[in-house]
Amino acid sequence: MSLLFALSRHPVLRRVLEALLTLVGVSVLTFVLLRVLPGDQITANYGIEAGALSPEQLDDLRAYYGLDQPLVGQYVNWLGGVLSGNLGISSTSRQSVLDMTASALPTTLELAVLSILIGLALGVPGGLLAASRPGATRDSGSQLASLMALSLPTFLVATVVSTWLANTFGWNPNGEEFATLAEDPGLNLQQMLLPALVLGISIASPVFQTARASVLTIRDEDYIRTARAKGVPSRRLQWRHVLRNALIPIVTIGGLQFGFLLGGTLVIEQIFSIPGIGRQVLLGLNQKEYAVVQSTVLVIAVMFVLVNLATDLLYRVVDPKVRAE
């Protein structure tokens, strides 16, 4: 017990312990929620034809899908498999969930990276621009644009824009078979362009608001006034003093948004036929493939935890006070 207490005092080990507990919690919650939902793999595969099956046939199928085992047994079997690298098999496609995830994850990563880059590229400069003249036209205008971007549902923007482009210019790369970056970089980037833009604009709004608020707070700090009084050139003041200190909340919001993106933006993936992690979870849910959903959700949780850890490390780079601690 005292060892556990000592471990929990160590900053790194404490974070690892918290991460592990989070992952266990996520896996248990996912497991329970899936079982609580009505239906199972039999009804998902057979639909109403399941009613034509005899009780013996239903028992056979339950045994085949492992549904006849006690719930704890099902969970332990699955967890044991995961810990030994076996994430399960999709009974629909006969592919291992590991292979499915290995092909979906890079796609989601690519979309997440492109979206966060666009979001930051729009949100950070926009926030700085707005904060440079608070109350002026540029500030009001950009706040209005940010509010609109926040209010408009992404699925609506995505559908309208892609439909308009397809109807007006006949341009619809997302109607083609999906190409990975390695297979066909040109087609891949075209297919990622619209989804990344739509997601990037939706991310830009909270980044903009955070950047603006953060800069406005920092600007009025004593050390900024001192630096200005000491004659620090304006450009250096902006980059080294204002922006650098304003980065911490921006890093936080950026990290959070990136984590959400890694969870798979389901609606965007469906609209643009992007075979990412979100779509994999949805298909697993529709087909009641417990292994697919549980294992994929666990992978998403692991990535979210890793992104949080990376964000914490980034604080150390950005904020000397955290380094000192």
């Binding site: 499915m100 341009w171 790369p173 609209i271």
Partner: protein, 517 residues
């Protein structure tokens, strides 16, 4: 001291960012989509809204599975343009005088895609596998009357029935009775289907596409296309965009508004009927609906045309119970051919419920596009006669569970039709039918009529029998049949030779060609 305003960040970074986005867009505009039609003779890209969940014919239930497997596999019999049985792998059978023995003669030199011969042993193997309870085949019910299947020589198959069953032959054109090779393990067919259809399985990217290539040895003739790719596009709007941009060459919709938006200079949309029927299922076993007068009140209170117009924007036709073309029910042949609120109230009074009653209704958004609209319209119509309907909109899995358990008073449903009324309804309305608990209605007279309908192959006699079945179902308001909808087959104008058929059947896809334009 005047406070100097901090200068805004240089806009150069913004310009660089904008340039990056612009260059991506410029790359985009330089290509990435077909203007129209694609290459001569394909491959044709067929858009489907979901990945096929089943790849073994006898397990296929989803529309997408049937669409894909229907190109890979062949059936013993086909149907003609009027949905009548026609020769397939075998000629139409010779039937013995007592109606118990069906002798099929297979065509000569039939082959599977892996080069092995398709003969009577493969047919025997397929049928016996379907009939084996351990297979849990969804098409097992079609073979319920079959006693044995014999293969006396490579070209002859003899099916012996336990009792005459005139509906048996109609099932042999269904994709879920397709013939599979007897020398390929079933498990292997799951990942690499081997059939004798017009197109052979080439590759599959799960949840993305299934690619087929032409089968040069197809028994009906050389397919018109070099191949077919079934591409998964889950979103309907995205499917329309793909059609209009030429990325997808064909798709089938069930929504008239979507079909309208798909119509363009390079996309033609054909409207076809469906055998599937929309219905408000009433469960006569439910306490609230035990009295036939309550059910008749519901039947009289509903204007079917209004349901059709509201839910499906009028795209379809009002229907009676039987939608099989040769036996189609007269939708006006029922106690209240038009909505009759007074009559409905009269029936409620006879049932001892002059003030009305409360019933529940299950529906599901996930199953098909008009389900919830139908429920809401019927709820509003029944309210006018004092029947309070509690609508429960369920997730599709929850709906299926409740439906199978018969855990409802009424249910909005879209049920499968068939070319044969026995196949459509025996399992619902005979006392031993597998879905009779769900249907909730049975009678000695219906049992007798269904037995009569199976026992004779005389079309006129069968027509008379099923007319009586239809009448009894309507007179007792077993269910409230509303309408059959339309399906819309959208195709690029470069696609020629395809004949759209009822139910969006793709059996003529092998004849299609595609010209470059």
């Amino acid at each position: 001291m005047q406070k100097s305003r901090p200068r805004a960040l240089p806009v150069r970074s913004l310009v660089v960012g904008a340039a990056l986005v612009t260059s991506l867009a410029a790359t985009g505009c330089s290509g990435g989509s077909k203007a129209s039609g694609g290459q001569a003779d394909g491959p044709l890209v067929f858009g489907i809204s979901a990945d096929p969940t089943q790849t073994i014919p006898w397990l296929s239930t989803s529309t997408q599975s049937i669409q894909v497997l229907g190109q890979i596999y062949s059936t013993m019999l086909n149907t003609d343009a009027n949905l009548q049985p026609a020769a397939g792998l075998a000629d139409l059978p010779k039937v013995s005088d007592d109606g118990l023995t069906y002798t099929f003669t297979l065509k000569k030199d039939l082959k599977f895609g892996n080069g092995s011969a398709l003969d009577s042993q493969d047919v025997k193997y397929t049928f016996e596998t379907i009939m084996d309870p351990a297979t849990k085949a969804t098409s097992a019910s079609y073979f319920a009357s079959v006693k044995s299947v014999e293969a006396p020589d490579p070209q002859t198959v003899v099916v012996t029935l336990k009792a005459p069953d005139a509906s048996f032959v109609s099932a042999l054109s269904n994709v879920n009775t397709s013939i599979v090779p007897s020398d390929v393990p079933v498990e292997s067919l799951t990942t690499k289907p081997v059939g004798s259809g017009p197109y052979l399985f080439e590759s599959r990217t799960p949840n993305q596409s299934i690619t087929l290539k032409a089968n040069p040895g197809y028994y009906q003739g050389k397919p018109g296309l070099s191949g077919v790719q079934f591409r998964v596009i889950a979103d309907e709007k995205a499917m329309v965009s793909a059609l209009r941009s030429g990325a997808v060459d064909m798709a089938v919709f069930d929504n008239s508004v979507t079909a309208k938006t798909a119509t363009a200079a390079n996309v033609q949309v054909s409207t076809v009927d469906q055998l599937n029927f929309h219905v408000l299922q009433l469960r006569a076993d439910a306490p609230a609906l035990k009295d036939v007068n309550v059910r008749l009140a519901i039947s009289c209170a509903i204007d079917r045309k209004q349901v059709l117009d509201t839910a499906a924007l009028g795209a379809g036709k009002v229907t009676g119970p039987i939608t099989s073309p040769a036996f189609r029910s007269d939708p006006d042949s029922r106690p209240c051919p038009t909505r009759d609120v007074a009559k409905a109230r009269e029936h409620l009074a006879k049932a001892g419920k002059p003030g009305g009653l409360t019933i529940n209704m299950i529906t599901s958004q996930g199953l098909y596009s008009t389900a919830v609209n139908e429920a809401q319209n019927i709820q509003a119509q029944l309210k006018e006669v004092g029947i309070d309907v509690k609508v429960e909109t369920l997730d599709s899995n929850a709906y299926v569970q409740r439906w199978l358990a018969g855990d409802f008073d009424t249910a909005i449903a879209l049920n499968g039709g068939s070319t044969d009324p026995n196949t459509m309804y025996a399992r619902y309305f005979t006392s031993t039918g597998s879905f009779n608990k769900v249907a909730g209605y049975r009678s000695a007279s219906l049992d007798k009529l269904f037995a009569e309908g199976k026992a004779t192959t005389d079309p006129n006699q069968r027509k008379a029998v099923y007319a009586k079945v239809s009448q009894e179902l309507e007179d007792n308001a077993a269910w409230v049949w509303t309408y059959t909808g339309n399906l819309y087959v959208a195709a690029n104008s470069a696609v020629k030779g395809f004949e759209p058929r009822t139910n969006g059947d793709l059996s003529t896809l092998w004849k299609a060609t595609m010209s470059a334009s």
